[in-house]
C-alpha cells in the first residue's frame, strides 16, 4: 500500500497536510469525519469527489499512522479494510459470477454519506448561528406563577337535608324495645280468661272459640291471642284441669274440662 501511495500524484503540501492530520487523529469524530476532512484536500465539490482517490488517501493515512506507531481505534481500521475492498472493486473489472453491489454503488453510497454528514455540519452551524434565547432575545424577567387557589365547596342535597332532619326527629324511636301491649295478649291474661270459661267446657270444643271478641279480625291480635290461649291451655292441662286433643297435623285443637268422674 505504501508503494501505491508513492506512485500517487499528490503534491507535497497534500502530504504535509495528511501528516498533520495523523498527529491530530484524536480530534476526529470517527472515520467518516476523517474521510470528510481528507476529501477537502481534493478541493472539489463533494459531488465530484473521487472516491477512489479518497480511499487511497485514507489508506495512506492509516499506513503512516502505523509507521508512526500511533494506535488507531478499531473503527478506523475497519474502515480501512472496507476501503481496501472498495478500491479493489473499483479497479478490477466486475466479476459476473459475483453477487452484491458493484464498486460504483458502494462508492456512491460513501459519497452520499459524506455529503450528508457535511450537510449536517453546515446546518448545525446555521442553527447555532441563529438568534438564541437568553443570548439574543429574552423571555420575561418578572414571571408570575399561576396561583392555584384551592376552594372547597361544600354541598348537600335536599335529600341529605330531609334525611338529616328525619334522623333527629325520629331518634327517640330508637329507644330500648318495649312491646306494644295494646296489640298483645299475654299468657297470663289468656289463663285468667280460660279459668273462668273452662268450667262450661264439658264437651270437646275448638280452642279457637275461646278467643276473645274483637281479637279475631286484626291478624296481629289474632296471632297473639291464639298463641296466648294455646299456651294457657297447655298450662291448664298441666294442672290437670283440661284435656287436649288434635286429630291430625294442623287439624283444629279441641279442649274439654277434665272431670274426676272420667278418671
Amino acid at each position: 500500500m505504501t508503494d501505491d501511495f508513492e506512485q500517487d500524484t499528490f503534491s507535497v503540501t497534500d502530504r504535509l497536510a495528511a501528516e498533520a492530520l495523523i498527529v491530530d487523529v484524536g480530534a476526529f469524530e470517527g472515520p467518516l469525519d476523517l474521510l470528510l476532512t481528507l476529501s477537502r484536500t481534493q478541493k472539489v465539490d463533494l459531488r465530484q469527489i473521487s472516491i477512489l482517490a479518497l480511499a487511497e488517501q485514507y489508506l495512506a493515512f492509516v499506513e503512516q499512522a502505523k509507521a508512526l506507531r500511533l494506535e488507531l481505534a478499531a473503527d478506523y481500521l475497519v474502515m480501512a479494510a472496507w476501503l481496501a475492498f472498495l478500491k479493489s472493486r473499483l479497479l478490477l473489472p466486475p466479476d459476473p459470477t459475483e453477487d452484491g453491489p458493484s464498486g460504483e454503488e458502494l462508492a456512491a453510497h460513501l459519497a452520499f454519506q459524506l455529503e450528508r454528514l457535511q450537510a449536517m455540519r453546515e446546518v448545525a452551524a446555521k442553527l447555532m448561528g441563529r438568534d438564541q434565547k437568553g443570548r439574543d432575545f429574552f423571555a420575561r424577567g418578572i414571571t408570575e406563577d399561576v396561583m392555584r387557589v384551592r376552594t372547597v365547596s361544600y354541598t348537600a342535597s335536599l335529600l341529605d337535608l330531609m334525611q338529616g332532619y328525619a334522623r333527629i326527629r325520629t331518634r327517640d324511636d330508637f329507644r330500648p324495645f318495649v312491646l306494644d301491649r295494646a296489640e298483645v295478649m299475654t299468657m297470663e291474661q289468656a289463663l285468667e280468661r280460660m279459668r273462668h270459661l273452662i268450667g262450661f267446657a264439658g264437651e270437646w270444643t275448638d280452642i279457637m272459640s275461646y278467643l276473645p271478641d274483637g281479637w279475631q279480625a286484626d291478624p296481629m291480635r289474632r296471632r297473639s291471642t291464639t298463641a296466648a290461649t294455646f299456651a294457657a291451655s297447655l298450662e291448664l292441662a298441666k294442672e290437670g284441669k283440661i284435656e287436649i286433643r288434635q286429630g291430625d297435623m294442623f287439624a283444629p285443637i279441641h279442649i274439654r274440662k277434665k272431670t274426676p268422674r272420667h278418671e
Binding site: F138, A139, R140, G141, I142, E144, D145, V146, M147, R148, V149, R150, T151, V152, S153, Y154, T155, A156, S157, L158, L159, D160, L161, M162, Q163, G164, Y165, A166, R167, I168, R169, T170, R171, D172, D173, F174, R175, D180, A182
Partner: protein, 212 residues
Amino acid sequence: MSEPKTESLFEAPPMAEQERMVEAILFATADPVTVTDLIGRMPHGSDPAEALVHLRKRYSGRGVNVVKVGDAWAIRTAPDLGFLMQKEIVETRKLSRAAIETLAIVAYHQPVTRAEIEEIRGVSVSRGTIDQLIEMEWIRLGRRKMSPGRPVTFVVTQGFLDHFGLESARDLPGLKELRAAGLLENRPPPGTTQLGGDDEDNDDSQSELFEE
C-alpha cells in the same frame, strides 16, 4: 418629538427606538429598573425618562401596564386581570353530618336560637358549624327572640332556597311525607301523629319572615 437635551458626540436613537429599548429592558429584567439603570444600559444620549412617559401611555388600558415600583419601573399585569393568574381548583365536599342536621333544624324551625338547635339535636352545636353555614350563605341571623336574654336566631337564606330548589322553607316536606316517600324506615313513637305542637308556631313565624 423632543429636543435633544444634552449635546453629545453620538446621536441618541430616535425616541420611538428608545421606547422599544425601554420596553425590552423592562420586559426582560428580573427586577424593576431605575431610570439611572436605564440610562446606563441605553445608548449614550438616550432619555429613558421621556421614553417611559410614552411607553406608559402606550400600555395604559392594556393587559399589562408600566408601573412605578418605588423609584424603579416594571411591567405588571393590569390589576383587573389578576384573576387570570389564578387557577381555581374547586373541591366539592359533602357537608358534615353536624352541619346538615343544624341546617335542617334551622330550615324546619326557623327562626331558631342556638339553644333550641342544641335542644333538638341533643348535642351542643359547635361555633364552627354555625360559622360554616353562615359563610356558605345558607343561614343568616334573624330577629332576636323576645325571650329573656333576647337571644339571636337563625333563619335560612334565599341562597339556601335556591340551592335546594325550594320556593320557601315551608315547602320542606314534613315527617309524614318523608315517611311516605320511604325516607323514614322507623315507626314514630306511638301517639305522635305529627311533627309536634310547635310546628304551627313555626309556620307562623316563617310566613312572617318570607312575607317581608
